[in-house]
Amino acid sequence: MRVQEPCVVASWPSVPVEIVRAAGFRPVIVRGASGPTPAADVHLEPGIFPSRIRQLVENALTGRLADAARIVIPRTSDADYKCYLYLREFARRGVTTALGPVVLFDLLQSRGSDVPAYDVARTRALLDELSSAAGRMPAADDLRTEITRANTARAAVRRLVALRRVVPRVAGTEAFPLLAAFWEMEPDRYAKMASDAATKIAARPPLAGPRVLLTGAPVDGQTLHEAIESHGAVVVDEVGPWGSGAAGNDVRIDDDPVAALADKYRADAIGARTPVDSLRRLTGSLLDEVDAVVVSLPPDDAVFGWDYPGLRDVLQARGIPHVCLRGDPHEEPTAADHAALGAMVSAASRLQEARHG
């Protein structure tokens, strides 16, 4: 990845892309990858930071983020916050001099009555910061325009999502990158691309095979989709911001677009600090439309594993087969993982056949 102006780099899609675009920048959101990160490994403790943070720090330390107008780290997880502190420390100690300014976007997600006002203020501070980088302050109408464009793109996301659920007509491996592109692609182009894709997919016959929900720590790549679908299943949903969760609800358009964006991202951003009851409700609402569940709990997970015993009990009570994978989701699963996936798909297929006679 080599970032060039005018870009704003973020560590997770919980930074309002509408604000980034209204300020005149293109959002670039770092994702995990399977490649080595030798520069980052010198400073990041092993087993703690997810792949996307290691990739971001690797890029930061090798000068590839030097031209970023701002590097925005949202308070989406402890790993993101620590990444912010580390990047600031690299700059302070002169570990790297080729690093764009680093900004914390301190969006909180807990249920306290004082949180919404705090988030509005921090979102306004982000707008000020990016405006300062751009040299111009967008008007409220500029923000409303970007919200409208992004909402149009969200509608296209939802059309694609509808073609995955209940009677899937598109494999997860194909759908995931189409959905993930929502975050970085220019919204008008995205809306057209996604709508064209949806029209073509709608004409396809339904896909056979058990429908799988991918949950646990949110995935930001499709390696697991490929592994699951290699056994004849179809990944029809993911709990996370990169796949079916990319759109969420529309951002309301009203007198205070900054407040509307703060409310939207607090409520919809999916990550380690999303309130557990929200995630539980979301996951529960998806179980009616799936035949099996894959739970991804990578070695850096410190959060989503706590939800596993409760989810397992629900799945067992409902007779939904599941597999828990502990590997890095950017790496090909092990032979043992594949065997477990194969067994899960077989069990789900038998249940599917029994249900449909």
């Binding site: 308070r75 402890d78 600031r88 914390l104 306290g112 706590w306 596993y308």
Partner: protein
């Protein structure tokens, strides 16, 4: 040689056991409410409305010290909670959720009326929600806004310039959250928080920490360390959970006087001291003998841990015209100072120099991800300052994979090859 424990240490241990027995009596016999808290929650607010509070970390340390942790940790594993999830902050939960798996100390935790945690690490919300569900009790969360301004020498601002230490928007947010907490506590206890009493309590906390500051200076300046690190911890922690109380202040003074007497009389924890060590990280609660294991063989003594040192720098707040704001300024960044850049490395190097440290042992905690961050910055800063570092990998409450002999051999080798040359 200071083989005998300080009278203060014996009194501290006895106080904790009696305090817990009194708590159980109040809860079971008198049906009074109590609260279960993360260690960084402001305990003062609970005590001032007469709701006694138990620290999660203190309870975890007691469970581990009573050798009960492996049974509860095995039960967590068996229930599908993978081994990379934090075991320190969740051991208390496990002792409740899987109570039948072991023998919780002193009869176990009674059901609290309220649980309260600061959402520092991402997992705390999960652990405390599961714990609250298990008890059928209420959970109050104090969210943790991130710091944008990062003054490296934070301890120079904390006492007199605490408003400069925390950005105004973060300070206001934490104040607002603490006010909501107070409303909840008042509703539970039926008692109103007396703001003058809060100011007086924080003044007493200041006095208590000033006493510990004096103890810290005694230890740093004495020709040989007068009191073992394990005894320092026992005395500090017993007072920390009831800080600012009459007993806590009196105990801190008694502890100080005994340490001073030892210094005056030239008593050393390890006579013929040759190496002064610091322990960086949470205590190794299941093997506290580790900290005295190198006295006979190498005349190496643990002089410093964060437990005594952090109180004076982390808690003292002068200028208490707005006591809630002062309390919030202490609460806002509590954990970051201990672990993360730029704060932790700067402070620890400063402390190492003050205490004439010859070598540092840095915990690499297993199954405790949040406390493991920042470690490489600390190790590098110490080495750059000329202080040799030995990382020690261990679970702080989990003895199951602890190689006690291997770790001791590593320390002996470290002392011989890097410290005592």
């Amino acid at each position: 040689m200071a083989d005998a424990q300080l009278n203060a240490t014996l009194a501290a241990s006895a106080f904790q056991k009696q305090w817990f027995a009194d708590l159980r009596r109040r809860v079971f016999d008198d049906r009074q409410p109590y609260a279960l808290l993360q260690a960084d929650v402001p305990f003062e607010l609970f005590d001032l409305v007469d709701i006694p509070a138990v620290s999660n970390q203190w309870w975890a340390a007691i469970v581990a010290a009573k050798r009960q942790a492996p049974k509860f940790l095995d039960a967590m594993d068996a229930d599908g909670l993978h081994g990379d999830l934090c075991r320190y902050c969740s051991l208390g939960y496990a002792s409740t959720r899987y109570a039948g798996a072991g023998d919780p100390p002193w009869g176990g935790l009674p059901t609290p009326r309220l649980l309260c945690a600061r959402l520092t690490c991402d997992c705390i919300h999960r652990v405390f929600e599961l714990w609250a569900d298990t008890f059928g009790a209420e959970l109050f969360e104090i969210d943790h806004p991130g710091a944008g301004d990062l003054p490296p020498r934070w301890w120079e601002l904390g006492r007199h310039h605490w408003r400069e230490l925390v950005e105004p928007h973060r300070l206001a947010f934490v104040v607002s959250t603490l006010e909501r907490l107070v409303e909840r506590l008042e509703a539970i206890s039926g008692r109103a928080l007396d703001r003058d009493a809060l100011r007086e309590r924080l003044e007493l906390v200041n006095q208590q920490e000033e006493v510990f500051d004096a103890v810290r200076r005694l230890i740093a300046a004495a020709p040989q360390c007068p009191v073992r690190m394990t005894e320092q911890i026992t005395n500090v922690m017993a007072t920390q959970w009831v800080r600012g109380s009459e007993w806590a202040l009196a105990h801190a003074r008694a502890f100080h006087d005994e340490v001073k007497q030892r210094v005056d009389e030239g008593v050393a924890a390890c006579p013929g001291e040759r190496a002064r060590l610091m322990w960086i990280g949470v205590g190794l609660w299941h093997d506290t003998g580790f900290y005295t294991a190198f006295e006979q063989s190498h005349r190496a003594v643990f002089v410093w841990s964060m437990y005594l040192a952090f109180g004076p720098d982390g808690y003292i707040r002068y200028g208490l015209d707005d006591p809630m704001a002062a309390l919030a300024s202490r609460t806002a960044s509590f954990n970051e100072y201990l672990h993360n850049p730029p704060w932790a490395a700067e402070w620890i190097v400063h402390q190492a120099r003050e205490h004439r440290i010859d070598g540092a042992l840095v915990l690499r905690p297993r199954s405790m991800k949040p406390a493991a961050t920042g470690r490489l910055f600390i190790e590098r800063a110490l080495e750059d300052a000329g202080i040799p570092v030995l990382p020690i990998e261990a679970g702080v409450v989990d003895a199951r994979e602890w190689d006690a002999d291997g770790a001791r051999a590593d320390v002996r080798s470290f002392l011989e090859t890097r410290v005592l040359q």
